[in-house]
């Protein structure tokens, strides 16, 4: 009887332990979703723009400048150009993968290297691109972090 109880208790402990392990594994995989659950409401457009501007000021402004107009001959402008306003996949690819080689924007050539910014997470990339696409006189729709995730997965699969 005692032996049986011990086995039972041991069994419960083991199963509880292994269950916890599984839970942790699941939690890790879905970490971003779990983290966001407690949030009371989805971020507003203003929140996204503000977060994007912060990313812009930290990682982009030094080259593309405060006004988004870049530097003649070196760093291309982000204003009124198809690179920014056009195909989002292409735009996300530039941010994640970088860009080198002469690039022509509105008839001008630009020469500086843009390093890959794949160290930014999906939300940072979507925030900053949403900010850029709606600032400096630009008026294009938002970029979602799902769109960034899709492009990132495709780039990593290459």
């Amino acid at each position: 009887m005692r032996k049986g109880l011990f086995v039972l208790i041991a069994g419960i402990i083991i199963s509880a332990w292994s269950c916890q392990g599984k839970k942790e594994e699941t939690a890790q995989k879905e970490a971003p979703v779990v983290k966001e659950e407690p949030k009371p409401a989805a971020p507003t457009a203003e929140d996204v723009i503000a977060a994007g501007e912060k990313v812009y000021n930290t990682y982009c402004m030094v080259c593309h400048q405060k006004d988004g107009n870049g530097v003649a001959g070196m760093n291309p402008p982000l204003t009124q150009t198809k690179y920014v306003l056009g195909d989002k996949t292409e735009l996300i690819t530039i941010v994640l993968g970088g860009l080198s080689g002469d690039i022509e924007v509105k008839g001008e050539m630009y020469s500086n290297v843009m390093p890959p910014h794949n160290f930014l997470n999906d939300k940072q990339v979507s925030d900053v691109l949403t900010f850029v696409r709606s600032s400096f006189g630009n008026d294009a729709d938002a970029v979602s972090k799902e769109e960034v995730a899709t492009v990132r997965a495709a780039l990593e699969a290459k």
């Binding site: 400048q65 003649a72 080689g101 001008e108 050539m109």
Partner: protein
Amino acid sequence: MERSFKNHLKSSFAVSIAITIFAISLFSCDSSSSKQENVNVKADHAFPAADADNGGLTLPENFGAIAVTDSIGRARHIAINNQGDIFVKMRTLADEKGVLYLKDSSGNGKLDLISGFGDFGGTGIAIYKDFLYCSSDSAVYRYKMENGIVKPNTLPDTIVTGFIVQRTHASKPIAFDGNGNMYVTIGAPSNACQESPRTPGSKGHDPCSQLDFQAGIWQFKAEKFNQTLKDDGHRYATGIRNAVAIDWNFKDNALYALQHGRDQLSHLFPEYYTQEQSAELPAEEFLKIADGDDFGWPYCYYDQFQEKKILAPEYGGDGQKIERCEGITPPILAFPGHWAPNDLLFYTGDQFPEKYKNGAFIAFHGSWNRAPFPQQGYFVAFVPFKDGKPEKEWERFAEGFTQVDSVMSTNDAKFRPVGLAEGPDGSLFISDSAKGKIWRVIYYGNKLALKD
């Protein structure tokens, strides 16, 4: 504005005095007097009046400026023949032409665009003997001149080819000594020779193979055709990231240049540098160059506050360590970071007051790399030289190029000084890269009256 208006009043007054003096000197001019000694008292030539607003510039007392042309395109360096005509090297072609020729054909002090030639953009241009030398980003050519001009359909001779094609720091500025040599800057094709260019935390290649044929100044024979970098070039100086401003100083027979220091210390290594430090560091270095010198790029940079060459963070530096940078040749003068010195001119004329003679004018193109702080350095500086050495008390000679109080983004600056040249009469010409405006700066003081 108020300041330039005052300057204008002063200059108008000064102009009348100057004209009077020239009129007097016309009559008193003795036919045996040497023209060479006093180029500015040419009997047939009084200086034209300065523009009411000095072309938008703010200048020292008794100086005035004329905007001789205002929008020829993306100008870079300029050269002037012995009649005062200007050749402008264009970064990108203007109406399919890479060199523009301007002349004051009506005698009103303004230049007229006469012609253009050359199918390549670039930066370097200089007159040597009876030839106009011009560089693209990959070669140096020269055009035969007759009576100071390049005749229509003149084909260029090729002097040097074989420069490695590079996008970053691609300009090939040129200078000549008195011994038949030509010097060409070859910039580094990167910011700091990082394994992953401009990527935070990325280490530097060690050794940096970019130094083999780039990031230095190469010497060639000035008049030998079809030289190549690899077969004929002599690496005169190395470890120079990019020196767009170079000039030979005939007073002490030496090459001088200004290096553009590296970018983005805090962006790439935030653990060692604040944004404030990164806005000021490293120094833009004024270099006196002897054959064989090494100025340390990419391993070292100059910190003007510590007054030392410091180990770059890509090579294990932390803003303090020196290590392999011990003994690396320091600059003769250091300017704050990122101002982008784009031309250097040792003034040899007599038109300006005595203190300017043999001193250095430097055209700072202005920064783009000081964000989040305002951009700086859109002006022409003057560095007096005494006994062959620069004086630390340099002056802001010409300002007002930006036309705004504060430049937050580079494009806020309306004009950006990029090229300098001395006219045969000793006036100073300044070119702008944004619109292609060119100013002629003249001294309207009464130096001659005082002397006499």
